[in-house]
Structure formats: C-alpha cells, structure tokens
C-alpha cells in the first residue's frame, strides 16, 4: 500500500509492505526503507522494533488517520491512499471557512451576525463547557455569511457556529 502521510503539515510518501515472518514489515518513507518488527501489546498498543531501537506506540483511529502517542509525545498522522488521489486535499485558501464547535457545550453569547465583517482572531461566540467560558475566535478575516446559532442553545462537537466567506 502507498499512502501520502501528513504529520504536522509535512507530507511524505510512505509505502508499506508485509515482509516474511510474523510482524515483519518494510516501510519506505520517501524512498528510505525501514525494516520493522511489530507486535500487538494490548488494546491500541504496539511494540515496534526498528534497527534495534524499541518503541512503545499507542494509537487510535481519528478522522482520516491516526493519533499516535510516543513516550508522552502526541502526533497526528493523516493518511490518504496515493492510488486514490487527493481525496482530502486542503481547501483552497480564501474559500468559505466553517467555524465549528470544538466541543459539546452551551452557547452563552453570539457576538456576530450575518453580513458583519470580522478580523482574524476576533471573538465570534462564547461557549460554556466544563464550567469555563471559552471564546471561539475567527480563524481568519472575512464576512459572516451565516451564524445559525442562538444564545442558550446547546450544541454538539462539530456543529456549525459561523460560516465565514
């Protein structure tokens, strides 16, 4: 299998192939081969030995890839099958920006209305979750196309709060 693997905005071509022997794989990262020996070590846990170096890896599926935990450090790996093309290519800059609820919670205040121009970092709504008020800010400057929410409303993770154009 060949994937385009993106970690922290940096994309590499990774080819993974099962080798001979239990748990043996070869992973080529931008052509560089790595021989690894992988064993399950419990739920969401694997032990990886690469060139004599031992790694304990925890990983869980996340949208479009995995969240990987390496000795206390967290990395997000986005995977796209290279053969299928760029299914999740980043949207062109300047397109509409969806500001979504990053967590479930209650909307305490809606600070903008449709048609209003906002600057990057300007507060859009205030959400209460886990006893704290959190201001959700604009990821970039733009005009509010839609703000389909009301004060006092409870929202789930991913709910559209504000659409910027």
């Amino acid at each position: 299998m060949i994937y385009d693997a993106t970690v922290d905005g940096h994309t590499v071509r990774a080819e993974v192939r099962a080798g001979t022997g239990e748990g043996r794989y070869t992973v080529r990262i931008d052509g560089r081969p790595l021989e690894v020996d992988v064993r399950d070590a419990g739920p969401h846990t694997m032990s990886v030995i690469a060139c004599g170096h031992a790694h304990e890896v925890f990983l869980e599926p996340r949208e479009g890839g995995y969240r990987v935990l390496l000795r206390g450090r967290v990395l997000h790996v986005g995977l796209v099958e290279a053969a299928r093309g760029a299914g999740t290519a980043p949207r062109a800059a300047g397109g509409p920006a969806r500001v979504q609820a990053p967590m479930p919670g209650k909307l305490v205040r809606v600070l903008v209305r449709a048609g209003q121009d906002v600057g990057a970092g300007q507060g859009l709504v205030v959400m209460e979750a886990m006893k704290m008020e959190n201001e959700i800010r604009a990821p970039r400057a733009g005009r509010v196309k839609e703000a389909p929410v009301q004060e006092g409303q409870a929202v789930e993770t991913g709910a559209l709060l504000v659409l910027l154009e």
Partner: protein, 503 residues
C-alpha cells in the same frame, strides 16, 4: 471527642476517591453521592455506600444542599467532607451541616464567610499586618466606579470575583478599552460558578510567583504551617504544575511567610486545613492574595515532602483530636512535583476535550503517586471540571523529581480524549523550568516552544505505526468482508482486539 463512624463525601472525581481512601484507612464507612451522569463513576465504585442526588448539572445535584443533607440523615453519616469546589467554600452549607448536627470537616461557617468573601479577607489581612496586593478592599458594582479605581491602581489590572476561586470569574486587563467587556465576562462567569457576580480589582504584578502556605489548626488553639507550594505554572489563571519546596523560597522567606500565614489563620479563628495564597514579586516580597478554606487540589505535594496525610488529619481534627505534632516537629524532605492532567487540548487554547477514555495506562515505579478519578472505558462528562488525574513525583532533590516526572509522563497513556500530558512532556524539558526560572506567565510566554514541531525520528515512527496499522486493518477488513469502505470504519465497528495479526 468522638470518632466518626460514617462520612458523607459531598464531591465527585479524584478528590472523592482520595477521601474514600482516607476513610477506608481509618476504618470509617464512606458514603458517596452521585449525579445521573456519575452513576458509574470511579468515586461511586470506591465508596462503601452510594446515593443518587439528581440530574447531571451540578446545580441540580452536587450543589443541592438539601439533597446532600437528606442523604446524610438517611445514611446516618456523622460528618461531611466537602473536598474542594462545589460546596467546599459555601458558608451556608457548613452552617446547615452544623444545624443538622452533622460535623462539617472544615472551618466554621462564619470563617468560610469571612475568608471566602475575598475583600473581607483582604481587610482582615491588613488588620493582621499581612501585606496584600494593592487594589480595592470592597467589591465594586458600578462600572464608573470600576473605571475610576482601575485608573487609580494603574494597568495592568486583575478583575476578580469577590466570591471567587479556581480561576473562575478572573480576567487580566492590560488595555483600558477592554475593561468593560472583561468586567462583564468576569461577572457572568462568577455568577454562573458561585451564584455571586460581584467583582473587585487588584494590581497585576509583573511576572509574580504564586506561592501558597498550607496551614493546619485544631480546636485547641494550635495552628501550624506545613511549608509552601510553588504554583506558578498556570494556564487561564489555573494551576497546572505545583511543587514543593519552591525554587524561589529561601529559608528566611519560608519562615516569614509561614509566620504571616499562621498569624492570619489565628486572627480568622481558623480550624482544620487551609491554604493562604501569596504572590511573591521578583524582589522576594510576599503579598497575601486569598485564603482557601478547604483542602487544596495540590495537597499531595505537601504530603509527599512531609509524610503527612492531610485528609486523615482533617478528619482527626474535626473529631476534636489535637494536632499530633508541633511546628518544630515538621520537616520538608526531598522535593515533590504535581502535574494536573486535564481533559483539555493545549494546542486549541486549552479547550475542554470530554469523551470516552478508550485506553488508559498510568505510570508506576519508584516515587510516584497517581490520584485519578477515571478508568479505562469511562466517559469524561461535559458537566464538570475537566481534571481527570493528578500525577505526583517525589525525588531527593528537584532534579530527581523532574527526571522522575518526565519518566512518568512518558509512561502515562490516555487514549480517546486529548489531555495536557504532552504539554508537560515539553514543560519538564524546558531549560527555564529546569532552572527554576518560572512565573505565572510561563506557559503563555513559552507556548510556541511548548507546542513545537515533532522530531524527524518521531515523525518517522508515527508514519511507520500508522501505515502498518492501516495495512493490517485493511487486510483483516478484507478477510472479514463485508465491511464498510474506508480504513478507520472497520476499527470503529470491531475494535482493536478483534483484529488478528496480518496474514
């Protein structure tokens, strides 16, 4: 003097578990209370008895004095331990317990009222000759008055809830034009958290250390201090890392702050465990900030360096026993550090990250303590404080404690939710932290470095693990067809355990 037979724990999460453990060691039955969201919570599993007290929102359960006292009567509890947060600093609750003939494990209701109203505590400190942070000595209701006082004190300024604590209802203002909006936010948050929206002003000191002194007082007129805790590493004005001793505090400053703390506690007629918070400026001058009339979240740090069990001492003092030691008997031994593990995402401005913990592997080994309130498979609810655990490391000196904590954080795995653990991994390696060069702005000013890009080696290993797993997932999906398309859906449907090794 009478021994308790049954203690009701009016709290949830890790602190309820902590108190249940103390009860078990003292051979006292523990009574848990729980909301509908907490029926399967760890604190219910750890208690001897458990009673439902209402729906998930804390206002309808953990803050319901009437229901909690009803459970106390029904279960025959002779004392109530309030933990921290919720009703711990609610004078009406302490009084209601006293009136119901149930011992409130803490100070008298009147002391809570006196010290809980932050401006009356400031006035008392001034009377006791304890220096306070410059600011107002009474709450301000009027915006014009607030503006005038802010001008007099000078920016930057802190707007603080008079009934406050725990960083709620607190706003830092550097720009006069933002004063009104910040005051409104502080009022609204304070009203929601404490049912009291009054605020007051304090001068914001530049790069202060936040250092607190633990005190213990019995019912026989003995008050001692149990040294300091350094609490400068904060986010959103809430502590995330605490340690004892403080790298800043000299033996002379320790003695001075200890004496100030004891003087103020005695003046307040204080009983049981309490904490006096101070800001210490770059010149080593302490200013009294506020008193917390309860057990602190970070009490294990003090327990690790003194060998005391503060929760058991609280219970013994509440039973009427005298403190079993004098000031001269107390010693600090070695160094302890605590990291508060929150269900929050540091990369997204510390937004809460509730959800199911799909895998959990706490660290173990020498010198560690993990005060957790969760377990693998538990859903961290959205309704409460996002603290899931407190990890504490002890070492013979600060360097060993830091090395141990680093090691512990590298072992601690929490999957399913995002936590502050990766942030600690970075903080504990930061040269300024290692050198003890810390202040309350540390995380804010170093956040860029603390969230820096991963190393090439880590990146490679993450790609290896993810692609191998994707391949194995795909192969087992094929072997067990039909399954939905996509690499992650089969995982979700079947879980890791069901997936055999690659064939």
């Amino acid at each position: 003097m009478s021994s308790f037979r049954r203690i009701l724990i009016a709290n949830r999460g890790e602190i309820a578990v902590r108190i249940a453990r103390a009860c078990r060691e003292l051979d006292i039955a523990s009574v848990a209370v729980y909301s509908e969201a907490d029926r399967a919570a760890l604190h219910v599993r750890m208690a001897d008895e458990a009673f439902a007290i209402g729906p998930a929102p804390s206002r309808e359960s953990y803050l319901r004095i009437d229901r909690i006292l009803e459970v106390a009567r029904r279960s025959g509890a002779d004392a109530v331990h309030p933990g921290y947060g919720f009703l711990a600093e609610n004078a009406a609750f302490a009084r209601a317990c006293e009136e119901a003939g149930i011992v409130f494990i803490g100070p008298r209701g009147e002391t809570i009222a006196l010290m809980g109203e932050k401006t009356s505590a400031r006035r008392l400190a001034v009377e006791a000759g304890v220096p306070v942070v410059p600011g107002t000595l009474a709450p301000l209701d009027d915006l014009d008055l607030l503006r005038g006082e802010a001008e007099r004190i000078g920016l930057p300024i802190m707007i603080k809830a008079a009934a406050g604590g725990g960083g709620k209802g607190l706003r830092l203002v550097r720009d006069a034009s933002l004063l009104a909006a910040a005051a409104e936010r502080a009022r609204s948050e304070a009203l929601s958290a404490f049912g009291d929206g009054r605020v007051y002003l304090e001068k914001a000191l530049e790069r202060p250390h936040h250092i607190e002194i633990q005190v213990l007082a019995d019912h026989h007129g003995h008050t001692v201090h149990v040294f300091e805790r350094e609490c400068s590493i904060q986010r959103r004005h809430q502590k995330v890392i605490e340690e004892s001793p403080s790298p800043l505090v000299t033996p002379e400053l320790r003695e001075r702050m200890g004496a100030l703390a004891v003087a103020l506690a005695e003046r307040a007629g204080y009983r049981n465990a309490g904490t006096l918070e101070f800001l210490v400026d770059a010149g080593g001058h302490p200013y009294f900030l506020e008193m917390n009339t309860r057990l602190q979240v970070e009490h294990p740090v003090t327990e690790m360096v003194t060998g005391l069990d503060l929760v058991k001492l609280q219970i013994r003092v509440a039973q009427g026993e005298p403190l079993p030691f004098a000031q001269a008997d107390l010693r600090q031994r070695g160094h302890a550090i605590e990291c508060r593990i929150y269900a929050e995402d540091p990369a997204q401005g510390f937004l809460p990250s509730p959800g199911r913990i799909v895998a959990l592997r706490p660290p173990s080994g020498p010198g560690l303590r993990d005060d957790s309130g969760v377990y693998e498979g538990w859903d961290v609810p959205i309704h409460y404080d996002p603290l899931i655990s407190k990890l504490v490391a002890w070492g013979t000196d600060r360097a060993e404690a830091i090395a141990r904590m680093r090691r512990a954080v590298s072992e601690y795995a929490v999957l399913g939710i995002t936590t502050t653990l990766p942030l600690f991994e970075r903080v504990l390696r930061h040269p300024a932290f290692v050198a003890g060069d810390i202040d309350t702005g540390f995380i804010e000013s170093h956040l860029g470095e603390l969230l820096r890009a991963p190393s090439d080696e880590d990146r490679d290993m993450a790609v290896v693990a993810a692609t191998v797993q994707a391949l194995r997932d795909r192969q087992s999906a094929r072997a067990q067809a039909p399954v939905p398309a996509g690499t992650t859906s089969a995982w979700r449907a079947r879980g890791w355990r069901d997936l055999g090794p690659a064939r």
